[in-house]
């Protein structure tokens, strides 16, 4: 919000054009794109008027790609090249996947995560997801009639860093500027809360195709405060399908199945499950590739018996989240259901029994997430919010820590800490004369490092030799509002320092992204640099706008004539570079101006604090 930084909330000093931004729900089964238009958030339709895009991608020989319904309709004929539920592979290695997922495709361990062998060559989950995102981006640009400034993409709250990084990489590969990764239940809560002007503590129970999330939020005067999240990033509607599939296989006494038969029965299983949400019985009929025909009737009671343990599994994270939120089931005012799988009557019953209240279903479980994401994208792109002034205070879903002696984890930042957060811890050396120490950053709740996810390793070197236990190494973890972690370590007596911004070992570098863009289409690289230039220009213009309006006020008391002249010179220099559209020149001139403008920023921030608390200076608190 460029101008909100200068103006009082709700007051815009200069009119500016509407910046096009979208919210994308990149789902396991279906994906959606939404945008705020005329003050309200709406899902965007494709040429055929459809909102849901099946998250199915088919790779053809020669590199051609089909996405959505077209691909979905070909999955029986071409199962090995038609990828469904790719979200379950994001940031995952072969060992992380279930047997049924492994047997459905030609999967291998690739660079950092699984890859699948298709008719178009090897593809990883990032590339496959990028195809879905590209389709949605095109749909949005067509519907909105212009290029997008950026997108908010939703992820399950319980996604770890590797899964988040993979999602971000997919978006970059699809040519999208990621304004924020937003947790799915939080997005749904924003859509629901703003629409209903809700106040109080709410739970969002989100069971999607491949993931389960529970979030507890407090809504109060436009502030959405996430109190706790929990979940299971490997539990979703797909697992219900799998159990029905196994039931069919057992009923028909089938042995190992060829891929087309497997896919056919999975499809039948899903249809039967969906049918049983509104009927008591579902007919299952399939003609196998060897000509044999199968026919069964599955009734709702049998389905519920088969899947009761999955539903019970969702209640474990629910209990933890309620406890972490420091609240009780009785204090929760409403439970919002999100995700297609919550249409199952057994789930609604379980939620009703657990929370002792009727769940709220007046939000479309398929659309709520995308609608909420669009509202946040609209705000983060610097537009005035259509729904009034609101703010999201989100949390970190999984604890962050360091490996210590004996392969144990020392927790530095606990799960459900409100972002942004910084916390430090002191460590020492364990050997006499030790001059270096290696730091291993991990994520997860388990005590043993081997059970957590490894995020990064780095070294602090040049510690002056001391007796064991003599050095005092302070390690600081900082997680910003985007959930990005940076870690720094400093030996206190010598001042030796090391720092790292954490990118998981399988996160892709900019060069790799560029290379992948190059692989897919030769001109994409030029596209990317054009886009980068345009983004830089937008940023530079915002900077100019913001300094302009700061200077428009009464500056004499705190800004000397010389400083002001210098600022104005730097602004003129940046305007010159903007005129000739010189990317490098814009970057340098903007950096200079940013530096010179720093006192203005401090001044703005002081004003913000002063408005919230009369008579304090920023310096008192930093």
């Amino acid at each position: 919000m460029a101008l909100l930084s200068i103006a009082e909330p709700g007051e815009s000093p200069a009119p500016h054009q509407h910046r096009l931004a979208v919210g994308i729900d990149l789902g396991t089964t279906n994906s959606l794109v939404a945008a705020v238009r005329d003050g309200s958030s709406r899902a965007l339709r494709d040429e055929d008027g459809l909102k849901l895009l099946p998250s199915v991608v088919r790779f053809l020989p020669g590199g051609q790609v089909e996405v959505g319904l077209e691909a979905k309709s070909r999955q029986l004929a071409d199962p090995l090249n038609t990828i469904v539920s790719v979200k379950r592979w994001m940031g995952r290695r072969l060992a992380d996947l279930s047997d049924s997922q492994r047997q459905a495709y030609r999967l291998l361990d690739g660079r950092g995560m699984v890859e699948v062998d298709t008719a178009a060559g090897m593809r990883n989950p990032v590339e496959i997801s990028a195809e879905i995102l590209k389709t949605l981006r095109q749909r949005a640009e067509q519907a909105l009639g212009g290029e997008l400034v950026g997108a908010v993409i939703t992820v399950p709250a319980y996604f770890d860093d590797a899964q988040r990084q993979a999602t971000k990489d997919a978006a970059r590969l699809a040519g999208l500027n990621v304004l924020r990764l937003l947790n799915e239940p939080t997005a749904a809560a924003i859509a629901y809360g703003l629409e209903h002007a809700s106040e109080g503590v709410y739970a969002v129970y989100d069971l999607g195709g491949g993931t389960f999330d529970i979030s507890i939020l407090r809504l109060s005067r436009g502030v959405f405060e996430v109190l706790a999240v929990n979940g299971d990033s490997a539990l979703g509607g797909d697992d219900f399908d799998q159990l029905v599939y196994e039931w069919i296989v057992a009923q028909a006494q089938l042995a190992a199945l060829p891929a087309p038969d497997h896919r056919l029965l999975m499809q039948q299983a899903r249809q039967a499950k969906e049918c049983l949400s509104s009927h008591q019985d579902a007919e299952i009929y399939a003609r196998m590739s060897n000509g044999a025909a199968l026919a069964f009737t599955l009734d709702r009671a049998t389905l519920e018996g088969l899947t009761a343990k999955l539903i019970a599994r969702t209640l474990v994270p629910v209990r933890k989240a309620v406890r972490d939120a420091g609240t009780t089931v009785e204090a929760i005012q409403g439970v919002v259901l999100v995700g297609g799988a919550t249409r199952m009557p057994a789930i609604r019953r379980a939620v009703r029994e657990h929370f002792q209240r009727e769940p709220l279903t007046d939000v479309d479980p398929d659309e709520a997430v995308a609608l909420g994401a669009a509202i946040q994208a609209h705000a983060l792109a610097g537009n005035r919010s259509g729904a009034g002034d609101w703010l999201l205070l989100d949390v970190i879903p999984l604890s962050l820590g360091l490996e210590t002696m004996g392969g144990l984890t020392e927790r530095i930042i606990a799960r459900n800490s409100t972002l942004p957060v910084a916390r430090g811890q002191d460590f020492t050396t364990f050997k006499d004369g030790q001059t270096a120490t290696s730091l291993h950053v991990v994520q997860g709740e388990r005590e043993r490092v081997a059970d957590c996810r490894s995020l990064a390793r780095f070294e602090l070197r040049g510690i002056p030799p001391m007796a064991a236990g003599g050095a005092r190494i302070r390690v600081i973890f900082q997680v910003d509002a985007d959930g990005l972690l940076s870690v720094s370590a400093r030996e206190q007596s010598s001042g030796v320092e090391a720092r790292v911004t954490v990118m998981p070992s399988f996160g892709l570098s900019d060069t790799e992204i560029a290379a992948m863009l190059g692989d897919s289409a030769a001109h994409a690289v030029t596209d990317a640099s054009m886009r980068a230039l345009r983004e830089q220009m937008v940023d530079a213009e915002r900077l100019l706008e913001s300094i302009d309006s700061a200077l428009a006020g009464d500056t004499q008391t705190w800004l000397s004539g010389a400083d002001r002249a210098m600022l104005e010179a730097a602004m003129a220099a940046l305007r010159d570079e903007l005129r000739v559209e010189n990317a490098e020149g814009i970057r340098t001139a903007a950096a200079t101006l940013n530096e010179l403008g720093a006192p203005l920023a401090a001044r703005r921030m002081d004003d913000a604090v002063r408005r919230s608390l009369a008579g304090r200076q920023l310096a008192d608190f930093l």
């Binding site: 919000m1 460029a2 101008l3 909100l4 930084s5 909330p9 304004l179 109060s220 005067r221 436009g222 502030v223 405060e225 474990v316 209990r319 933890k320 406890r323 705000a379 983060l380 792109a381 610097g382 002034d389 703010l391 999201l392 205070l393 800490s417 409100t418 972002l419 942004p420 957060v421 910084a422 916390r423 900082q478 910003d480 509002a481 915002r542 900077l543 913001s546 300094i547 940013n594 530096e595 403008g597 720093a598 203005l600 920023a601 401090a602 703005r604 921030m605 913000a608 604090v609 408005r611 919230s612 608390l613 008579g615 304090r616 200076q617 920023l618 310096a619 008192d620 608190f621 930093l622």
Partner: protein, 179 residues
């Protein structure tokens, strides 16, 4: 008026414009936090300059840390004692024998309930330990806010720290049972 410039510890109470007392109406704290967070959250400066965003990050981080500290009774008491120049010394602390005996009893009860996978026993134990924490917290409030008994308060804080650890262990045991 500079708070930290004079070598004095930074007061989280004054960051929120609250009186430095242990007995803190939670609603007032919540409200003050939300008001400050609304002003300084980095999302408010999403399109701002690098310097603005950096300052917003620093200040919002500080606001979150202050809120967590004041919201959590043990941390709030420690912070209050810190402002009065009292440090909690874990290593040199001595605990009353009766308290240690109660600790050992609770720990044993926890071990038994865990071994027996007895959810109800864990819940009962949790409730009784939390009740004890409530009593301690009330005593701490009197020591800090009215009796000016800082030395007694240090002792109460140490005991509350033990109890918090125990509560966490009971919760972990319940998580384990449910999983």
């Amino acid at each position: 008026m500079t708070i930290c410039g004079a070598g004095m510890p930074l007061s989280y109470f004054s960051l929120f414009g609250l009186e430095a007392r242990y007995a803190l109406p939670p609603d007032e704290l919540d409200l003050a936090y939300r008001r400050l967070a609304s002003r300084v959250h980095p999302d408010r400066f999403a399109g701002g300059t690098t310097a603005e965003r950096y300052q917003a990050l620093e200040l919002a981080t500080r606001a979150n840390e202050a809120y967590r500290t004041l919201k959590t009774p043990v941390l709030r008491a420690r912070h209050l004692l810190g402002l009065r120049g009292m440090e909690i010394d874990h290593a040199g602390a001595t605990m009353p024998a009766a308290f240690l005996a109660a600790q050992i009893e609770w720990r044993e009860a926890l071990g038994d309930a865990r071994a027996a996978r007895d959810e109800a026993a864990l819940r009962r134990l949790g409730a009784s330990v939390r009740e004890h924490a409530g009593t301690l917290s009330a005593r701490l409030g009197a020591q800090l806010d009215s009796d000016a008994d800082d030395a007694g308060a240090v002792q109460s804080v140490l005991q509350l720290m033990f109890i918090d650890k125990l509560v966490a262990a009971i919760d972990d045991a319940r998580d384990e049972l449910e999983a």
